[in-house]
């Protein structure tokens, strides 16, 4: 088994096929979308592949060390051009192909008009533990 991160962007991903901002959807379309996401997580739990899922607020700040005895420097808000992560899911699956299939399902979540969003998601392998037998 190997862990993969399915990463969802607010900004920075290529445009989705059904690219309508969520605030232009009907309330029923939003409900259908939320229900799909919850159902997806539940199904992953039942298949024994779910590890974690979190959503992130769009705001925040850049932070860096500013030298001994000084408070960290912060900078914000984020510029409109920044690649902005919206949230993630971590899955533990048998293969890369399975991770891609799951990301495909997640990307099929319904949006405007009840049609799939076809949103681009990033799939990233975790660096795991080293195998013992290598020769």
């Amino acid at each position: 088994m190997a862990k993969y991160l399915l990463l969802k962007h607010y900004r920075g991903a290529p445009a989705a096929v059904n690219d309508v901002p969520m605030d232009r959807w009907t309330p029923a379309e939003i409900d259908a979308h939320v229900a799909y996401m919850e159902d997806f997580a539940t199904r992953l739990g039942e298949s024994g592949e779910y590890v974690d899922g979190q959503a992130l607020a769009p705001d925040g700040a850049w932070v860096r060390y500013d030298g001994e005895g000084r408070p960290p420097v912060t900078d914000g808000p984020f510029p409109e051009t920044k690649d902005l992560i919206a949230g993630w899911m971590v899955v533990d699956v048998d293969s890369w192909d399975r991770a891609v299939a799951l990301a495909g399902e997640l990307s099929a979540a319904p949006g405007a008009g009840g049609r799939p969003i076809h949103e681009w998601l990033e799939v990233r392998p975790f660096l795991g533990v080293p195998p013992t037998v290598t020769e």
């Binding site: 739990g45 024994g48 974690d52 048998d94 533990v129 080293p130 195998p131 020769e135």
Partner: protein, 391 residues
């Protein structure tokens, strides 16, 4: 390999784990279905880990059987009350002797059934054969406990119709045990140690040279464990390992198990891999390694498995036996898409004295590494060569 004991209470967790497949066997003989029996024994195991430190039973096996059976009857009654379904259950154990060894062997086959995915087979084997709790398995693989619980119940549904007395496939059992050992996961429980324990248990239950081969392989690799990382936790490759830290008792045992297996003249992939590990164990210094014989064993391994990974490792061994150019020529025949291809190429380039190329290849190999320990090791190799080149 003694089990961890709860401080001052004398509960040998390793002994407790050994009893689990036996007790599942007892419940199944009394008429319980495997899925419910396994659940009931798991509940009894969790209870034992909770209560035995303060209140150890005089007869641990008897305690486990009694508590598991009671749990099973509770499960069975509530299930029947829900579904009003009739299930035939003998409330008394059947007569006649049945070998516990045979029962355990059947459990290995069932838990590694070919219809299961590797991940499910691993989880089910660790719980039903290894006697680990769901929490311990989840902790080792860094996933939520509920995820492992689901993986196990799905696996059990998938094999619900497989009769327990069916002969199984030893090859899939060995693959599952190898996977548990080789992935090197650990948490509160060390899975490599557990893999060795259940492989020993299997070797005691079935007389087969490949089972012995796998046991020899894991013993010989385990012998090097202390030397495989330095005090800072950095990976130390075979060439740089302090061989005085290899465990001579494990090596002696591994070599003896392997020799007995090879004498049966039924070679298989695990015996061939163990033979390679044994040749490394034989060399007091890296420079004394018998690379010619190692290449011969890789030839056997390639012939047995056709594995590209074996070809890749063979190319590295050829580089040691016949020089770096021969190694690079052998490597050119191997699928370049293989995970460690770039790392092997970097090593052989370094050996050939082509240091600038080697540094670039190490850096590329680091980017392709599948784990942080190897990535950091390869990055350090690249950095060292670049420093040599510029300084």
């Amino acid at each position: 390999m003694t089990g961890r004991r709860h401080a001052g209470t004398g509960v040998d967790e390793s002994r407790l784990r050994e009893l689990i497949p036996e007790v599942i066997g007892v419940l199944v003989r009394r008429g319980a279905d495997f899925a419910s029996a396994e659940d009931a024994v798991q509940e009894a195991l969790v209870e034992a880990l909770r209560t035995w430190p303060a209140d150890p039973p005089r007869d641990p096996r008897g305690w486990l059987v009694t508590v598991s059976w009671r749990r099973y009857l509770d499960l069975y009654r509530s299930e029947r009350a829900r579904s009003a379904r009739e299930v035939a259950v003998d409330l008394e154990p059947p007569q006649g002797p049945v070998s516990a060894v045979d029962d355990t062997l059947r459990l290995y086959f069932l838990c590694a059934h070919p219809s299961l995915t590797p991940g499910s087979a691993v989880a089910l084997t660790l719980r039903a054969v290894g006697g680990l709790t769901t929490r311990q398995i989840a902790e080792a693989y860094l996933v939520p406990e509920s995820t492992i619980a689901q993986r196990i119940s799905r696996a059990k549904r998938r094999i619900a119709d497989v009769p327990l007395d069916q002969p199984g496939d030893l090859a899939t059992v060995l693959r599952v045990l190898y996977l548990i050992y080789n992935e090197g996961h650990s948490g509160e429980v060390d899975l490599a140690t557990e893999a060795i324990r259940v492989t020993r248990q299997l070797a005691a239950a079935v007389d087969d040279p490949e089972v012995a081969g796998l046991l020899a392989l894991v013993l010989l690799h385990h012998a090097r464990r202390a030397a495989r990382t330095d005090p800072a936790g950095r990976l130390v490759p075979l060439a740089g390992q302090d061989r005085s830290r290899w465990d001579p008792a494990l090596i002696a045992e591994g070599v003896a198990v392997l020799q007995a297996a090879l004498a049966r003249d039924r070679l298989g992939e695990y015996q061939a891999q163990a033979a390679i590990a044994a040749l490394h164990a034989d060399a007091r210094r890296f420079e004394e390694t018998d690379w010619v014989q190692i290449v011969e064993w890789y030839d056997e391994l390639v012939a047995l498995t056709g594995s590209e990974v074996a070809r890749l490792n063979r190319a590295v061994a050829v580089g040691e036996a016949d020089g770096a150019p021969a190694g690079l020529a052998a490597l050119a025949e191997v699928d370049p898409g293989l995970p460690r291809h770039t790392a092997a190429s970097a090593y052989l380039h370094e050996k050939a004295g082509r240091l600038a190329d080697a540094a670039d290849l190490y850096a590329a190999a680091a980017r392709a590494a599948s784990n942080t320990a190897e990535r950091d090791h390869l990055t350090r190799r690249a950095a060292r060569l670049r420093q040599t080149a510029s300084g």
